[in-house]
C-alpha cells in the first residue's frame, strides 16, 4: 500500500489541507445553527394568515367571513390570526398540526373544496372535527391567550362570570364540565347553514 502516491479521496493530504478538518467542523457547526434558524423561519411563515389562505380551499372561504366576527375586530384591537386558534403554541403539538396539515394539501390538489358550495356542503363535518379536537385538548388554543385566572369577572356579564368561575372549579372528568368551545362557537366563522338554504 503506497499512500504517498495515491490519488483518491483517502490519500494522505498535505499539511495545509489538514486545516480543512477544524475549518470543516466549524463550517458544519454554523450550518447546523443556520439550519435551525431556517427551520424556525419556515415554521413561523407557514403559520401566517397569508400562507393559510394561499390555497383555494376551506381556509380561504373561512377567512372571507372572518372579518365579520368578534375575534377580528375588538375594542382593544388585539391581533388574532388563524394560527392563534388553529395551531398549538407548544412545540410537539405544533409539529403534529403542521404534519397533519398535509391532508389539507391533498384535498386542495384533489379539489375537494374548491368552490363555496362544496365548502358549505362539507361544513358540518369540518366544524365537528375542529370542535372535537378542541374538546379533546380542553380548548388548549383558546387558553394560550385567555386564562380564567386573569379574567376580571366584574367586567363580565353575571352569567358569564358565574360560568367561568364554576367551570374553573370543576374537574374535566365531571359530567357538568364544559370547555371554552362548548359555549364560544362561531366567534370567527359562520354557522354551518342548513342544507335547505345552502344554494
Amino acid at each position: 500500500m503506497d499512500r504517498e502516491q495515491g490519488s483518491g479521496l483517502w490519500r494522505k493530504p498535505g499539511a495545509w489541507w489538514r486545516f480543512g478538518i477544524p475549518i470543516g467542523g466549524l463550517l458544519l457547526f454554523v450550518f447546523g445553527a443556520l439550519g435551525t434558524v431556517g427551520f424556525n423561519v419556515v415554521i413561523h411563515e407557514t403559520s401566517s394568515d397569508a400562507f393559510c389562505v394561499n390555497c383555494h380551499g376551506p381556509s380561504k372561504f373561512a377567512a372571507e367571513e372572518w372579518p365579520q366576527h368578534s375575534h377580528y375586530n375588538t375594542a382593544s384591537g388585539v391581533m388574532v390570526t388563524c394560527a392563534d386558534c388553529h395551531v398549538a403554541k407548544e412545540f410537539v403539538p405544533k409539529m403534529w398540526r403542521k404534519i397533519t396539515a398535509m391532508k389539507e394539501v391533498f384535498y386542495t390538489v384533489k379539489g375537494d373544496y374548491n368552490t363555496r358550495e362544496k365548502f358549505e356542503a362539507a361544513r358540518h363535518e369540518m366544524v365537528d372535527s375542529v370542535w372535537d379536537s378542541m374538546r379533546a385538548n380542553d380548548s388548549r388554543e383558546c387558553r394560550s391567550c385567555h386564562k380564567v385566572e386573569r379574567m376580571d369577572f366584574d367586567q363580565q356579564k353575571r352569567m358569564a362570570a358565574t360560568m367561568h368561575q364554576r367551570m374553573d372549579g370543576l374537574e374535566r372528568s365531571d359530567p357538568k364540565y364544559k370547555t371554552c368551545i362548548d359555549c364560544h362557537k362561531y366567534l370567527a366563522h359562520n354557522k354551518p347553514q342548513a342544507q335547505a338554504d345552502g344554494e
Partner: protein
C-alpha cells in the same frame, strides 16, 4: 516516511479517518443544539419569573403593583399579558439589542445597589418611567402595537373620545404611550398629579 512520530497530525489508520465525516456530523448536531439552546435561553430569560427573580429590584416592586390594580393584569377576556409583551420587542435584532443593553444596566444597578429599598426606587421612578416612555415614543409604541392594531379596533365598542383619537392617530405625531400611561404600573407622583 509513513510511520512517523505519534503526534496530533500523524497520519491516522483508515478506520480513524471515519472520524472526519463523524466529526462533521457531530459539529452539525452541536450547531443545532447550540441554536436551540440560545433560543431557549432567550425565551426563559423573558419569563415573568426571571424578570422578577432579583431580590429587592425595581422589577419586583413594579410587579407587585401590576398584580394589584393594572388593567393589563386582569382584563375582561382574561388575555394574558407578561412583562416581555410590553418591554421586549418581538422582532429578532431589536429583541437581542434590548435584552443585551437592559441586562447590562439591570445587572449593574443590582450589583452597585442603586435601589436598595422601595424608597430609593420611588425617588427615581419618574426618571425611570420617562426613560421607558422615551423609548416607546421613539419606536412609535412598537411593543403596544405588537398586540394592538388600530386597523383591528372595533371603534363602535370604544368610548367616543377614544374612537376619535384612534382614528386620527396616524395623522399626528402622537403615539399610544402619550395617552396610555400608567396602565400597568403606578404613575410617578408628579405625573399622576397633572
Amino acid at each position: 516516511m509513513f510511520e512517523q512520530k505519534k503526534g496530533l497530525w500523524s497520519v491516522p489508520t483508515p478506520w480513524w479517518r471515519l472520524g472526519i465525516p463523524l466529526g462533521g456530523l457531530l459539529a452539525l448536531v452541536l450547531g443545532i443544539i447550540a441554536w436551540v439552546g440560545f433560543e431557549a435561553s432567550m425565551t426563559w430569560s423573558s419569563t415573568d419569573e426571571f424578570c422578577t427573580s432579583c431580590h429587592n429590584s425595581p422589577s419586583q416592586w413594579v410587579q407587585q403593583e401590576w398584580h394589584q390594580e393594572s388593567a393589563h393584569f386582569k382584563s375582561k377576556s382574561g388575555v394574558v399579558v407578561t412583562c416581555h409583551d410590553c418591554h421586549i420587542p418581538k422582532s429578532f435584532f431589536a429583541k437581542v439589542w434590548v435584552k443585551g443593553t437592559s441586562a447590562v444596566s439591570h445587572v449593574t444597578t443590582q450589583l452597585t445597589g442603586k435601589y436598595q429599598t422601595k424608597a430609593d426606587f420611588e425617588l427615581h421612578r419618574e426618571a425611570l418611567a420617562e426613560r421607558v416612555w422615551d423609548v416607546m415614543r421613539k419606536t412609535d409604541s412598537r411593543e403596544c402595537r405588537s398586540c394592538h392594531n388600530v386597523e383591528r379596533m372595533a371603534l363602535a365598542q370604544q368610548s367616543e373620545t377614544a374612537a376619535q383619537y384612534h382614528e386620527v392617530l396616524q395623522d399626528d405625531g402622537i403615539t399610544c404611550i402619550d395617552c396610555h400611561k400608567g396602565i400597568a404600573h403606578n404613575l410617578p407622583g408628579n405625573v399622576a398629579k397633572n
